[in-house]
């Protein structure tokens, strides 16, 4: 009984804290352009995918330079 009450209090505290950060008590915000109708959440995910894709192309991979040097020096590919 005691633990149930404690869990309820903790749960309501957690909900309040999360609610203060992410207020979901409203219709979803959307991006509209001609026939395109996307929620802001989906636009954020698509944007993140594009950012990660671009970073994957330009960021150096750990150990890649050493392998390239070894290959140019006649090492194993």
């Amino acid at each position: 009984m005691q633990s149930d009450r404690r869990r309820l209090v903790l749960s309501s505290v957690g909900t309040s804290v999360m609610g203060a950060v992410f207020n979901l008590n409203h219709p979803a915000h959307t991006v509209d352009w001609h026939f395109i109708h996307l929620s802001v959440a989906n636009v954020v995910v698509i944007g993140l995918m594009l950012v990660v894709f671009a970073l994957a192309l330009v960021l150096p991979f750990p150990g890649a330079a050493g392998r390239d040097a070894a290959r140019r020096g006649g090492g194993a590919s």
């Binding site: 894709f53 994957a56 392998r67 290959r71």
Partner: protein, 221 residues
Amino acid sequence: MSAAPATPTAAVAPTTTRSKSWTVKVRERGVEALPPDRLLPDGQPTYVASWIYVFGVASIASLIVIIGSGSILALKGPAWWHETGVGHFFNSIHMWSVELFFFAMVVHLWGKYWMAAWRGGRGRVWITGAVTFLVAVPCALTGYVSQQNFDAQWISTQAKDAMNSVGVGAFFNLTNFGQMYSYHILLLPIAVVALVSIHVLLVRRNGVVPPFELDRKLSRS
């Protein structure tokens, strides 16, 4: 007491009989198509040391978490995943691993599209990857409508209109929980895992697609 013959002649099967066996044929074809050193190689070419090549394996890692967490959810049932703390945890693990799976798979698809990964006889590798993405979409959709909550009701009634409009509503009824749950935990996961397995075996067989400049150098030499 007489001595037994050293080697019974029947024990040594003639090679002509062995070659007719379907198991031998399957084994020989399997080893020919995918020798053990190619199936489980010691290393990868240097050009694979790039971040753009990690999203395929990131998709597989996410899929393993999806299957593991989904199996636990299936064993415990809706009351557990809605009403207990551990159930909420596994429900979240399952949902977020799906998010990661699609995130990694989309970046992987973009990367492979822009490097024309179907080059060098790798058409089937590309096709199996693209079809996996297409099969994974209804796999996720049937999961959203199997949650057993208001979110599932909302999604199923909205998506049902879409299914009816394209003429498949009679076969694929999003408001039928039993049908959706069967699709979600059995039919579509089997299809996704089978396609991913074929995809990985084809990658092993054909090798990872090289960058364009290396391809050009190889064709010149």
